[in-house]
């Protein structure tokens, strides 16, 4: 191991030790369900805002977007915009959901319906499915990234990394619960913001704080015309094929739709609504998250274009063809410019540790959300009819964290050499198609009933999964030059029927349609009284769950 890698490894260890200490502290201060699922509802708005931002800004956005901008220019920025704008929808829903729910999305959905267990079960299935897909993407990325940072090669190193990351996240969640997980998010968010601010300041400093000069240098280093214009990556024009071009453009709009509508239905974001004392604090936390996430994604511009200008696309592609290492290479170049090779190693080690913290925090948030849903909704409400012993339910939650973590580790080890980046966009599309219709219609549509919730969730979830299965992501996409497969399955296998890679444009309206059809076709009548009760509770905060007073 070289000195730089030893330093990287040392910083990983420091981060792990600090978060372990926090987890032990959280364990000692966790007594019941409210503590385990919602951190005692005692986090302030700004704290929860940091944690929300921590949950949201994944390695895919930090390293991934910087890489896409570095290699594809302007089009990478479109991800940043979609990821931010989506928070306005979250801002509109957060207070209502905080008021009406207790720990999970299913609490909100089941409040007014007649057949609670069916609705809870559907919500659990959707929560766990979305979380596991998202987890899988993060874990496979973690394997590749960490072994790269530590200079380890080959599949075994990746597998070992995945197991270590998995063990850490299971420990954070099953031991520290929401208190531990939230503090891990807060630490990570502070680290990530600090790291990004340092890199951005150094990049801008190199160009005399002149953004136009930075863009000009990036354009020049990219070696192609139109690097700063739309169309390098998304909605690409296929020469001589207007239909193909149109499909590419619709595919791009489909992605944009999923990004902007998915956020408010992501399980690990929703479960964070309940960690604050009341709806006002929840609103404050989303406002903080908007501020942090916005500033962060603006800085991805400097990171991405900075990497193009200062590292050069050739060197980025040589390290990793998908560009995930661009931000790290940029850190090394910038550090070297400031303080020679030692400076380069130092800054690389720091940014590497930030990336590691980012991955660990996001995966723990996902495991937290899905184990809460399994224990509170499935065990507590479906199996035990809403009357479980509190200690029993928390034990089930700890066990579920272990089970889901294990599942994610096994899947990630199996898929460690696949390119699974599409799973992030798929998770957003599933959240937007299955969860969003159920949430919005539960809160605002008088006639919505159990059958509608259930058919909306299963329709949206199944629809988006099926469309991806039948899309070029899974089979039939062939490199025109080499003839090799660009899909998940090897070349020669081709059962793709659906032309787009992103299902959102079809699956989101389909989710709403299923929810509507389920409602109007069933003979079940909506419970008017409970709907009124839900409206009063969600809008006024009457009877909302407050922090325990003791």
């Amino acid at each position: 191991m070289t000195g730089g890698r030893l330093l990287t490894f040392g910083l990983f260890v420091v981060f792990i030790l600090i978060t372990l200490a926090v987890t032990f502290w959280a364990r000692a201060n966790t007594r019941g369900k409210d503590d385990f699922y919602a951190g005692g509802r005692a986090f302030s708005g700004p704290q929860n805002g940091l944690a929300l931002a921590g949950d949201y800004m994944s390695a895919a956005s930090f390293l991934g977007i910087a890489g896409i901008i570095a290699l594809s220019g302007y089009d990478g920025f479109l991800y940043s915009i979609g990821f931010l704008v989506a928070w306005l929808l979250t801002l509109l829903l957060v207070e209502l959901m905080r008021n009406a729910g207790r720990f999970t999305m299913a609490d909100v959905l089941s409040h007014r319906v007649r057949r609670q267990p069916r609705v809870r079960t559907a919500a659990v299935i959707s929560t766990v499915t979305v979380s596991v897909f998202y987890l899988l993407a993060q874990m496979v990325g973690a394997g590749a990234l960490v072994s790269l940072l530590l200079g380890l090669e080959g599949g075994t190193a990746k597998a070992v990394t995945i197991v270590v990351v998995g063990a850490m996240m299971i420990f954070y969640v099953s031991f520290g619960g929401m208190k531990g997980t939230t503090w891990v998010q807060i630490i990570k968010a502070v680290l990530l913001m600090a790291g990004t601010v340092v890199l951005t300041a150094l990049v801008l400093g190199r160009f005399g704080f002149n953004i136009s000069a930075l863009l000009g240098a990036a354009q020049e280093a990219s070696g192609r015309t139109g690097f700063l214009d739309p169309g390098n990556r998304f909605g690409r024009t296929v020469p001589g094929d207007p239909v193909g071009t149109l499909i590419n453009k619709l595919d791009f709009i489909s992605l944009a739709l999923a990004l902007v509508l998915g956020t408010a239905g992501l399980p690990h974001i929703v479960s964070r609504f309940f960690t604050v004392p009341d709806a006002r604090a929840a609103r404050t936390s989303v406002n903080w998250a908007i501020g942090l996430v916005g500033v962060f994604y603006l800085m991805t511009l400097a990171l991405g274009f900075g990497a193009t200008a200062l590292v050069s696309p050739e060197r980025i592609i040589a390290e990793d063809p998908s560009g995930n290492t661009a931000a790290l290479q940029l850190a090394q170049v910038l550090g070297e410019a400031v303080a020679g090779p030692v400076g380069g190693d130092l800054l690389l080690a720091f940014i590497g540790a930030v990336a590691f913290a980012t991955i660990l925090a996001v995966v723990s948030g996902l495991v937290m959300a899905s184990s809460t849903s399994l224990a509170h909704d499935y065990f507590g409400h479906v199996l035990m009819f809403g009357r479980p012993r509190e200690s029993q339910e928390v034990a089930v939650a700890r066990l579920s964290a272990f089970a889901i973590g294990l599942l994610a580790v096994v899947l990630a080890v199996v898929a460690r050499n696949q390119n699974v980046a599409f799973l992030v966009a798929l998770a957003f599309a599933m959240a937007a198609s299955a969860n969003l219709p159920a949430i919005v219609l539960s809160l605002f549509w008088k006639r919505f009933n159990s059958t509608g919730v259930v058919s909306g969730i299963y329709g949206g979830l199944g629809g988006s999964l099926l469309l991806v299965l039948l899309s070029p992501v899974v089979s039939g996409k062939v490199d025109p030059v080499t003839g090799g497969s660009l899909s998940l399955l090897p070349a020669g296998v081709d059962f793709h029927v659906f032309p787009m890679e992103n299902p959102g444009l079809v699956s989101i309206p389909f989710g709403f349609l299923c929810a509507w059809l389920g409602t109007v076709l069933s003979t079940e009548k909506a419970d008017q009284e409970r709907y009124d009760d839900l409206s009063v509770r969600s809008l006024t905060g009457t009877g909302a769950h407050t922090p325990r007073q003791d």
Binding site: I81, L92, G216, V286, N287, E390, E529, D532, S535
Partner: protein, 145 residues
Amino acid sequence: MGGRHSYAGLAQDRRFRLLRTRFRRLAVSVVVSFLGWYFLYIILSAFARDFMARPAIGNINIAMLLGILQFVSTFFLAWRYTRYARRMLDPLSQQLREEAERQRAELDSIEQIMAERRRIETWTPERAGPAARGARHRRSYGETR
């Protein structure tokens, strides 16, 4: 939700209806403006590429400028929403919440007094024996809240 109290009665209150109308109007206006502006931008990026590629300031082209404006508009809308909610929604919802919770507390205390009275009226020496205490203990053991 089990035997939880229903606040449905309040849904007919004039102030609640005003609150609901205000929230819905606000939500619709925010959603229409941000989704409309976002998709306008996305559609321009997909279908009006020559326009988007035009330089605006130095090397910053229209696409980049509009992209950064998306950030500005998001911050602006979040700020507008929060300000409106503080002025027009929060006072109303607070008033309704406090009233409903006061009523609820009164009902609860009346119920408690009535239950206590029933217990006193039906009290006999045999019923207060260890068996009854045991039953009460078992009941509280099964409580979840």
